[in-house]
Amino acid sequence: FWDDWRRQYGDSGLKNPRGDRLLTELAVRAIRQLRPRLMMINYQDPDYVHWGNASHYTRAIAVIDQGLQRLVETVDSDPEYRDDTVFVIVPDCGRDANPFMSVPYQHHFNSRSAHEIFALVFGAGVVRNRILDKPVDQTSLTSTIGALMGFRVRAAEGRVLSEIIT
């Protein structure tokens, strides 16, 4: 995997994509070469907003959006993964919605909206076109992913979100 990477991009670090685009490129190559059954991609760049540039937040979300599009296309173009893959897209935490701050979207200060996130789940075995409009704990996703993959996650604290499983 890394030999192929080096053959294509070398060692200078100047040819390969960087930041969250790098994560997308690595994920796409991993899907094609390593054939994982479970993969977690931890995008990070929206966190740059902590340092004051509001545009870093929106630009980073756009970069992640483009990355997700590429990942979905990669999965859909692969016969083994098509129709047998679940995507779970979820922020690790929310953001403040503090109108008194010049940059309202931090999340260091335990505000209510910093604890409130969304989750987007689609793919095989997931109910389509349904909005589950009730508060659930983020830890439920772990149990739910296990259920979708056919095993019980004994150490997970949250419940299985059976409402979204077909």
Binding site: R18, Y48, G52, N53, A60, F100, N110
Partner: protein, 350 residues
């Protein structure tokens, strides 16, 4: 006491009571007007001009007190008897001398921009460019942001170490270039080095509540849970209350700090008459103070180095507080202005 003496004493006591009441009402009105003007950046220029007039008056009073070894009240009375200095016997009002206030504010703003914009711009640029470069993964030039920040920090400490005395000199002399006479400013600082260090430390400490005020909105939900359900008008009212309290605090502290700096300037120029500008020389001449035999302050180099270093440490503390506050609640304006250093206006996002 005879009945006539009693009635005269009673009349005097009534008149001085009315005078005291009128004085306090007048001061309260001035505080209200000053606060209202400090709420916007444009009108804060007038507050700046008024503070400059206040500082000049304070320098004159301090010169008279030193010349006659008298109390403040006595010094003010003496000023009333000297033609050229009679105007300084009265507290600067808003309506009397409005043009001087406008002009003084504009000139003071130019001086502050000259002195503080270089380091403020470097700090702002280092922050913006450093994080912009980091976001764009320019690892090869990751050193640029921190390097510019370091230069900005060093420049900040160097300039802020001079600023209080330089501004006091400007307020007294009225000359824009007086703040750039670095050798004279340094001489004056050396003449009162320990008192100047005390002023520096108090100045830095008094900036802390304003930095806390900058951080406080971050915790607004905890401080005032009603904001979760407040409509835009209610949110604006909360922001205005916060802004008003911060502004009043800044003005009270400025009133104290700037007058202290002005008195220090007077003490320094009387110890180092050669470093005095034209206005102080004329003032000293008008009050009949002979400074020709003023003993030059003894130069303890160790003491001077210690005082300078401690002053730099104090301003370093200011910079630490600035970075913490900017991380907690970032605002671009706060890199280039602090109400106790520059324009007496507290930035508000809403």
């Amino acid at each position: 006491m005879t009945p006539n003496a009693k009635s005269i004493a009673g009349a005097r006591s009534t008149s001085s009571l009315y005078g005291a009441i009128a004085h306090h009402v007048s001061m309260a009105a001035k505080l209200i007007i000053t606060t209202a003007l400090a709420l916007t950046p444009l009108t804060a220029l007038l507050v700046l001009g008024w503070i400059v007039r206040l500082m000049r008056r304070e320098t004159v009073i301090a010169c008279v007190r030193h010349a006659h070894s008298c109390s403040r009240a006595q010094a003010v009375d003496r000023l009333g008897a000297i033609d050229r200095l009679e105007v300084y016997s009265r507290f600067p009002g808003w309506w009397s001398g409005l043009w001087q206030t406008v002009l003084g504010g504009l000139r003071a703003f130019i001086v502050l921009v000259m002195l503080t914009l270089p380091f403020g711009a470097l700090l702002l640029l280092s922050w913006w460019a450093g994080w912009e470069n980091s976001f764009n993964k320019g690892y090869e030039q990751a050193w640029a942001g921190p390097a510019v920040a370091l230069v900005g920090i060093l420049l900040t400490v160097a300039i802020l170490s001079h600023l209080p005395m330089a501004m006091a000199r400007f307020a007294a002399e009225g000359s824009l270039w007086s703040v750039l006479e670095l050798r004279q400013v340094r001489r004056l600082i050396r003449a009162v080095r320990w008192r100047y260090l005390a002023l520096t430390i108090v100045t830095v400490l008094t900036t802390a509540p304003l930095f806390l005020a900058q951080i406080a909105p971050t915790f607004m939900e905890k401080i005032n849970p009603k904001v979760l359900t407040a409509d835009p008008e209610e949110l604006r009212a909360i922001a205005e209350r916060w802004h008003l309290m911060a502004t009043i605090y800044a003005l009270v502290v400025l009133f104290f700090l700037r007058r202290w700096a002005a008195r220090l300037y007077a003490r320094a120029v009387l110890a180092e008459p050669d470093a005095a500008g034209p206005f102080v020389r004329e003032t000293v001449s008008a009050i009949g103070l002979d400074t020709s035999d003023a003993e030059a302050p003894r130069r303890h180099w160790t003491g001077m180095v210690m005082a300078t270093l401690l002053g730099c440490v104090a301003w370093g503390g200011f910079i630490v507080m600035l970075y913490i506050a900017q991380f907690a609640n970032h605002a671009w304006w706060n890199w280039v202005n602090h109400p106790l250093i520059g324009l007496p206006w507290v930035f508000r996002p809403i």
